[in-house]
Symmetry: C2
Amino acid sequence: MKRPERETAEGILFTDEYQLTMAHLYFRMGLHEKPAQFDHFFRSYPDYGGHQAGYCINAGLEWLLDWMEQAHFRPEDIDYLEHQTGQTGSRLFQEDFLEWLRGNGSFSGITMRAIPEGRVVHPNVPLTVVQGPMAMAQILETPLLNHLNYQILIATKAARIRESGRDKLLLEFGLRRAQGKGGNAGARAALIGGADFSSNTGISHVLGYPPKGTHAHSMVQAFMALDMSELDAFQAYADVYPDDCLLLVDTIDTLESGVPNAIRVFENLRQKGHKPVGIRLDSGDLAYLAIRSAKMLNDAGFSDCSIVLSSNLDEMVILQILTQISEEASRYGVDASHLIDRLVYGVGTHLITSWGEPALGGVYKLVAVDRDGKWQPAIKISESAAKTPNPGHKHVWRLYDQRSSATADLLSLEDEDPRQMDTIVLRHPTDHTKQRSLDQAGIAEVEPLLVDVLQDGQLVYDLPTIDTMRERREADMGRLDPGVRRLINPHIYHVSLTPRLWQQKQELIQQARQQSR
Amino acid sequence: MKRPERETAEGILFTDEYQLTMAHLYFRMGLHEKPAQFDHFFRSYPDYGGHQAGYCINAGLEWLLDWMEQAHFRPEDIDYLEHQTGQTGSRLFQEDFLEWLRGNGSFSGITMRAIPEGRVVHPNVPLTVVQGPMAMAQILETPLLNHLNYQILIATKAARIRESGRDKLLLEFGLRRAQGKGGNAGARAALIGGADFSSNTGISHVLGYPPKGTHAHSMVQAFMALDMSELDAFQAYADVYPDDCLLLVDTIDTLESGVPNAIRVFENLRQKGHKPVGIRLDSGDLAYLAIRSAKMLNDAGFSDCSIVLSSNLDEMVILQILTQISEEASRYGVDASHLIDRLVYGVGTHLITSWGEPALGGVYKLVAVDRDGKWQPAIKISESAAKTPNPGHKHVWRLYDQRSSATADLLSLEDEDPRQMDTIVLRHPTDHTKQRSLDQAGIAEVEPLLVDVLQDGQLVYDLPTIDTMRERREADMGRLDPGVRRLINPHIYHVSLTPRLWQQKQELIQQARQQSR
C-alpha cells in the first residue's frame, strides 16, 4: 500500500462493514445518538494446548486511544460510503446518514472507563467500558477489539514466559514472524507483560528501551564464503564491539567449533581489558549444549558470561530446559543454579504469535442503553449460560485478603459499594448453587479497578509509562495466589457477582425469553 | 503511537537490531558494498496440528516493495543510531558508518527476482532472491520476512478453507482477532488465497472489493432493551436494506425465534417484490441448525436464500459440517447437495491467525557473495541436513507432465537449463539415495518460476492485480495432483536439485567442515 491507501485502510474504515450498516440503521430509527454502553471483556484465559493460563495481563489501551484520537470520517471516507451499493446496485447508505457522519463521525462523544495497562485481569470482568452515541460506539467495536485483544494476549504470554524463566532476562525476537506491522504492537505488549527488551529497533526506539541483538549466522557464512573462518568472524565482531561481544556459536558446530572459537576471542578481549558478554545457542538440544558450553566457559575463566538461548522457546520449553539442567548439570561438573542464573531467553515466534492460542476471544457486548436518562440493562441470551454477558452499568472491585492476596474480582451494580457491606456475598456468575460469604474483617482491601479514561472524548487520564505498567504487573503478580500463578493446571481465580447483580441478570434472562415468544 | 512515532517504528528501523550491528561490522571490514545474494524460502508447509498443508500460496510481494520504496535512513533515524550506546556507555555505531548510511541507506541498490503472488509454492524453493550491497541486503532481512511470511501463511490457509468449502463463497471476518494493523495484510492475503470478500471495510476499499457484512447480535439486543423484539429488529433491517437483507438468527434461539422471525420478515419483503438474501448462523451445532433452518426456509418458499455459517470455522470444521449435512440432511427432508450449494462461510479467527500454525517459518539465507565479479556460493552447515540451504545463484523451474500436472520443482545452477537436457535428473535435496529421471518426451512444459522484479532498486515488473493473482492461484491449483491438494495427509510434492547443484552443495559442505577445523 502507498501512503494515502494506508491512511484509508488504517483510519476510521479499519472496522467491519456491519458496524456501518448497523450505524446507518440506528440513524434511520433515530437511535444513533442514544447513549449505549458496551463492555469489553474476555470469556476465558488463553489455553495453549493443554496448559491454560490462570491470569491475563491487560494491555493495548494507549494505542487504542491514539487511534481513536485520529480516526474520523474524512471526506474521502464518506465519498466511499456514498458509492457503496447493494445487490441491486442501489446505494447502501443514504445521504442524510452520511451528512450526520460528516459532522459527528468521530469519537468525540465517547466516555470510557478501563482497567489500566499492566494489571492482572480475569475472564468476564469488564476491562474497558464504553459509553456513547450508539452509532459511533458500535463502529468502535472492531478497532477496539483489534487493539486490545492482541496486546492482552501477548502481554499474558510474555508474563508466563518470564515466570517459567524465573525472572531472568527475556528478549522479544519475533518481528519476522509477526502479522506485518502488528509486530510493533506485539513488541510493546511483550515489554509490558514480561520482556525486558526487544530486537525490534524502531519500536524499541519509540518506547525508550534499547534494542538488543548482536549477529546472525549470515555473518559467519559471509566470512567463510570469502575464505575466512568462523574465528575470523568472531574476532572481527570483537574488534568492532569489544565491550558488547556476544557471539552466536552454532553456525558450524557448537561444541567443536563455535564455543572454542568464542573462548579464543574472549581471551583476546580479556587481555585487552574488555569483558566479553557471552554466547548465544540457537539450535540443537539447548539444555545439553548450555551445560557443555558453560563447562567450557567456566574452565576458561568466563564463568560470568551470559548464555543466551533462542530457537522456538516458550514457557513449556523453558520449563523443560531448566528441569534438564537441574538434573544433568552436575554430571558435567557444572553447578545447575549458577548456570540457570546466567541464562538469557530470546523468544520469537512463540511469543509474538502466542503459539497454541494465537487470538484472545475478547468481545464487546452491548450491556445497557439509555432510557429516559437511566441505564436500561440489555441482555443477550446464549445457548451456554457462561456466554451470557453480565448486563447493565457495573462497578468492578478486587478483594484482597489479610495476606494481601487477591481473593476475588467482584462485579456489582452501579449503586453498590462492597466497602459499605458488613458481609460481602460472592455469587458464582452462572452456577446458582455456588456462593461464598466474606466478612469485612477478613478483607484487607477492596480496590475499584476501573479508572476514568475518556470523558466525552477528552482524555481525563494520565497515561502511565511502560515502566509504571511493569511495576503494576509485578505488584499484581505478587498478590496472586501461587496456585493461580502457576503455569500448568492453575487454580481458578474467582470472578463473582453481588447478589443484586445476579438477581438482575436472572430477571433479564426471563424477560428476554418471554419477550421472544 | 502518534504519527511521527509510527513513521519511525514502521520505517527503516522496522528491523532487528542485529541487522544494524552486522551492517556496521561489514562497513568496518570494507564488505558493506560487496554484492551478496540472499534467498527467501520456507522449509516446511504449515502443519495445523496433525493436518499439514501440501502446498502454499505465495503472497506479500507488492506490500514489501511498497515498504522498500519508502524506507530509508532519515536524519532522525541516523540520529537515533548515533545515540545508541553499548554496555560501557560508548557509542555502538561509528560516525563514518552513519555517514555512509546517510548517502546509501536505502534499497536503491537491490536487485530482486521473485515468484509472483498467487502462485502455488513449495518448501526449499527460493521464492524471493535478493542481490545487493551486503549491508543493505542484510538490513532487509527482517522486514522482508515480516511482509512475506505472514501473507504466504494466510493465503495458504485461505486456499485450504476454500478447498474444504468446495469453492463456495468465503468471507474473511478476522480483523478483531488480528495482530493490530496486521489485520489488513491478513485480509489482503486471504483475498489472494481464497476469500471472495472481507468484512474489513478499509482494506476492501483500498483493494477494490466490496466489504461484506450485515448486523451483529447487538442490534437485536438494542431493540430488546428498548422494549422492542427480535422481529422488530429484523423488520427494521429489512426496511432499511430491502434488497440486502441477511439476518443473524441466533441472538435468542435460532430455531424457536430467529428463523421463524426471519421468515416472517422475508415474507413481507417478498410481498413488496424484494428478494431476501439469507440468514447467518453464528453458534451451536452449525450443521444441524443449517439443516433445520434450510427445511424451514424451504417450506416457506425461500429455498434459494443463502445460509451463512460463522463461529470458529476452519477447514476441518467445514469438512465436518459438510460430512454431517451429507449424512443427516435427508432425515429432515432436506436435499444435502442443495443445502451445501447455498452455504456461505464467514471465517474469522482461524483464518487471520492461521490457527494451529500461526507463523510460517520462512527464512532469508545468505547463499552467495561476489568474488571478483562471480557469485561465490556460501553455505551454512546445519545439524540437520534438511536445514542446510541450497547454495549459490540458482534457477527455479517447474516441470509439468503430459497431463499438464506439475510434477516437480527443480533448482539448477545459473548456467543450466532443463529445457536443453535430453534427460532431466532430479536429485532429492538431502537423501543421496533418491533420484528420478524424466525423459524430455514425458515433460509437457518446463516453466521458469522466478521473474525479474527490481533492477538496482528500479521496478522492472508489472505488478499484477489481485484478480490476476487469483487466476494464477486457480490455474496452479488446477495443475496440482489431487493427492497433493488434499487437506489431510497430502502426497509430498517433489522439490529436487540438478545433479550439478547437488554436487556443488556436497563439496561446499565438505569444505566448510574442513575450514572449521
